[in-house]
């Protein structure tokens, strides 16, 4: 590691927000990378230059992470070379790449700083770390320098707030500001809108457009076609470790998606069915907060209802409340016609109410090297008391249930005993669904079931959810596109309460993906 010459803080450049960036030109030739017997990348040619926003699509396991890791210096390529501004480029660490102006911003933006540090301190972490800030730091100097950084990148950031308290959108901007303060010329963003509401995403898009106009190159990794449609000048699709095809504007997204998943897209939007089953869940005048709007809705057997709406509107809270993981503030809930006061997840499960929580790693999985970290154990966990009433586990029984789920949902895993952390995101999510369908509930609650799930697995999951004609399903998703792919009925939850989204109108939206159905 080479260290930068130590400069006094007051000499830091303080350019205006319209500062232009020396355009980068980065090319990869014939890259290949193997992990053991797995070919992660092969024969990849790729280039990006200043002022360009290039989208990168690929199913989970297609090699996106590997490509990003090679470009950003986190992994060396086995074969092939990188050419930066006409010279061979061999970064041996992410630090090397950052010094060359290539900064990758991780999807988990909570890693962009640390709770307990203010936003201002977070912006200056790199200077603390490389010694540019000097040994003693005064709060006044921190504020001054942080304001200079925020001004130079043109962001309006809450500098005095604790990093742990700001929202995902601000964390994203902090991460970008840190990258720009480190003189980034190529920004690599990984699913940056995953946890942003629509308005926040739009703000991010405007910022990214502005950065590209200033000469920055942006590599934008996303599953979301609407993001790429809005932003990308060009989209490269990875499949099986190769760049399967590159699409130029106007980008033909249906073909891009079919290229990504390697099979024709059989109509992503599902037909709405009119539910005739008995009402399973009836909610009236339910309040999630003391001064929140009253919510009224019901879900019938065999019906899939999606609740969408901005982040923070209370979608997760609604599901957790119905599951007994949050207290009911006020209101009336009826399950199969009988009054139902959910007091705990255990009580909810006993009554046939199942919840697959948001972020499967946090809400469903045990670490892989811990007992319970296998596919079969993950599926069995909520059902142990039912399957093993005498208390003693029998692995044959667990395996049988896991085999059922693997077959039914098409889970790609080494078998029932495979560790969860060896599965791709889509297959992990199928395991979570398999868990909650292993014993069929009356009411299935799914919170963001398509997070980090590629298009192919998404269709499988949607089909598996819709196939249960006796189950009432309620799904929370912040992505209306996802709602259209699975739900019979869509409700929008915002600060004013719930209102139905007219499905027909939604279907008629100009949307090449839907038009093919």
């Amino acid at each position: 590691m080479t260290s930068k010459p130590c400069r006094p803080a007051k000499d830091l450049p303080l350019p205006g927000s319209s500062r232009t960036v020396a355009p980068i030109s980065l090319a990869a030739h014939n890259l290949a990378k193997r992990f053991g017997s797995t070919v992660a990348l092969t024969q990849v040619d790729f280039s990006i230059s200043g002022g360009e926003i290039v989208g990168l699509m690929g199913a989970n396991g297609a090699g996106k992470s590997t490509l990003v890791n090679i470009l950003s210096g986190a992994l060396p390529a086995d074969v092939g070379e990188l050419v930066l501004d006409g010279h061979p480029f061999r970064p041996s660490s992410p630090g090397d790449a950052i010094r060359a102006g290539i900064v990758a911003i991780h999807q988990a933006t909570d890693r962009a700083g640390a709770p307990g540090l203010s936003v201002a301190e977070t912006l200056l972490i790199d200077r603390f770390a490389d010694g540019r800030s000097g040994f003693f730091v005064s709060p006044a100097a921190i504020r001054r320098q942080a304001r200079a950084i925020a001004h130079s990148v043109g962001f309006n950031l809450p500098l005095d707030r604790d990093f742990g308290e700001i929202g995902a959108a601000d964390r994203q901007l902090v991460a970008i500001a840190r990258a720009l303060a480190a003189d980034a010329r190529l920004l690599i963003l990984d699913e940056p809108t995953a946890s942003l509401a629509a308005a926040e995403s739009e703000r991010l898009f405007q910022i990214l457009d502005g950065l590209a106009a200033r000469g920055l190159a942006i590599l934008y990794i996303s599953h979301r076609t609407q993001d790429l449609r809005r932003l990308a000048h060009r989209v490269a699709v990875l499949r099986g470790g190769r760049i399967a095809q590159t699409f130029l504007r106007p980008i033909d997204f249906p073909t891009a998606i079919e290229t990504m998943i390697g099979r024709p897209l059989a109509g992503a939007h599902v037909a709405a069915r009119v539910a005739t089953g008995a009402p399973v869940l009836q909610v009236s005048a339910l309040r999630l907060h003391r001064d929140g709007p009253p919510l009224d809705f019901d879900v019938r057997a065999g019906e899939v209802v999606a609740i969408t709406g901005p982040l923070g509107a209370g979608k997760s809270r609604l599901l957790l409340t119905l599951f007994g993981a949050h207290p009911v503030v006020e209101g009336d809930i009826r399950l199969l016609g009988r009054a139902w006061r959910p007091l705990s997840p255990a009580a909810a499960i006993a009554r046939g109410v199942h919840l697959a929580g948001e972020d499967r790693r946090k809400t469903a999985f045990t670490p892989g090297d811990w007992p319970g970290g296998t596919v079969s154990a993950a599926i069995a966990q909520p059902h142990l008391a039912r399957w093993f009433p005498d208390g003693f586990l029998r692995s044959a029984c667990e395996r049988r249930h896991a085999q059922d789920a693997i077959r039914r949902l098409g889970i790609r895993a080494g078998g029932p005993d495979a560790r969860l952390d060896t599965l791709s995101g889509g297959n992990q999510q199928k395991v979570v669904l398999g868990r909650w369908q292993a014993v069929l509930p009356h009411l299935l609650l799914l919170d963001e079931p398509f997070q980090g799930v590629d298009v192919g697995a998404r269709a499988d999951i949607a089909a598996a959810v819709r196939a249960q004609s006796d189950v009432a399903t309620l799904i929370a998703t912040s992505d209306p596109e996802e709602a259209l792919e699975v739900a019979d009925r869509i409700l929008v939850l915002d600060d004013d309460g719930l209102c139905p989204l007219a499905r027909i109108a939604a279907d008629r939206q100009p949307d090449p993906t839907g038009a093919r159905s």
Partner: protein, 345 residues
């Protein structure tokens, strides 16, 4: 986004496959391999080492540590760490001795009272950790401190033996019942000491509980991801309470054995028990490359340390090097587990 590595390795030629598996095999068997090497070396240097009598004396020496280590392991399974076991065992020695010598209780009453004391401490730990929300390390360390002091108060800091002068000036003239002493001193069929049998029984029972039952699976689920366990319907508070109850009760059983073996209430009897049992549980992480708390590994870890110390003692290595040796084993085992055992990401 994660890079997914294929779970099934390609078929390799036989010899190649063996070579490939060798490092993993060595890692899994490292503790046993070392144990075999040590035993061979000690046996060559001192033939008496290999006798059944010596083997039993090794097991007798580690029985209490192993029982405490099993308890610590259970607390680790729920993601906690019971640092109060040393003080629980030590104050249980005092409780049992006080019951015999001062209150002149019978064997059954004494043992029951001492185990009840353990249950009470377990409930206190659980109250602090589960209800009040004190982090487990801090709560049990504080209780460790509390009990270390508490055990001195009834006898004004004196050890308990027949003829003890109480703070009131009265002298206590009860005696240790021979039936009580038998718990620590007698042998089944003149071969297997009772403490060793207790160690084996507890090892097997708690192994089955943690590895083969619903309760054990749920305990590990709590330790692995408490939120996920709760959302899967597990009563996480009850499971954590149960774990601290088990560890404190086992620690008080360890105290009963120490009291029965020593035959007096020695105020310094539990001094090294905490560190020794924690070390055994941590060495257990390396056994079969488990990289997690496991009962089998903890018992093996305790025995491993016992064999090492026994052999070194036979070779006349000075007693004051013992803690250094234990520390070196622990550092080596943890380095082995986490360093060499690192899986490719």
């Amino acid at each position: 986004m994660t890079v997914v590595s294929q779970a099934s390795p390609p078929s390799l030629s036989g010899r190649h496959a063996l070579l490939r598996r060798l490092p993993a095999f060595l890692r899994r068997g490292a503790v046993f391999l070392l144990l075999a090497i040590l035993a061979t070396a000690f046996a060559l240097a001192e033939p008496a080492f290999l006798g059944l009598a010596n083997f039993m004396s090794v097991l007798q020496a580690v029985a209490v540590v192993a029982i405490l280590a099993v308890g610590v392991t259970v607390s680790m399974a729920v993601g906690g760490f019971d640092l109060s076991v040393g003080a629980v065992a030590a104050s249980s020695v005092m409780t049992a001795s006080y019951a015999m010598v001062v209150w002149r209780l019978g064997v059954v009453e004494t043992v029951a009272l001492t185990l009840l004391f353990g249950v009470a401490v377990g409930l206190l730990n659980a109250l602090l950790i589960v209800r009040v929300g004190v982090p487990d390390l801090l709560a049990t360390l504080a209780v460790n401190f509390l009990l270390t002091g508490l055990q001195l108060i009834p006898t004004a800091g004196r050890s308990i033996a027949t003829g003890l002068i109480l703070p009131s000036g009265r002298s206590a003239n009860g005696v240790f019942d021979p039936a009580f002493l038998a718990i620590g001193r007698s042998r089944l069929f003149d071969i297997a000491p009772i403490p060793v049998l207790l160690m084996l029984a507890i090892g097997i029972i708690v192994f089955v509980l943690t590895e083969r039952t619903r309760i054990g699976r749920l305990m590990f689920a709590v330790g692995g991801n408490e939120i996920a366990a709760r959302l899967a319907g597990a009563n996480t508070s009850r499971l954590r309470t149960l774990a601290y109850l088990i560890s404190a009760t086992l620690a008080s059983l360890g105290g009963v054995i120490v009291a029965a073996r020593v035959g007096r209430g020695d105020i310094s009897s539990g001094a090294s028990l905490l560190l020794d049992s924690v070390a055994a549980s941590l060495i257990g992480f390396a056994v079969l490359a488990a990289r997690r708390p496991n009962v089998f590994g903890s018992v093996v870890g305790a025995i491993f340390v016992g064999v090492l110390l026994n052999g070194l003692t036979m070779l006349n290595v000075p007693y004051y090097t013992q803690d250094f040796v234990k520390g070196a084993v622990l550092v080596g085992a943890l380095g082995l587990t986490y360093g060499l055992g690192r899986r490719p990401a």
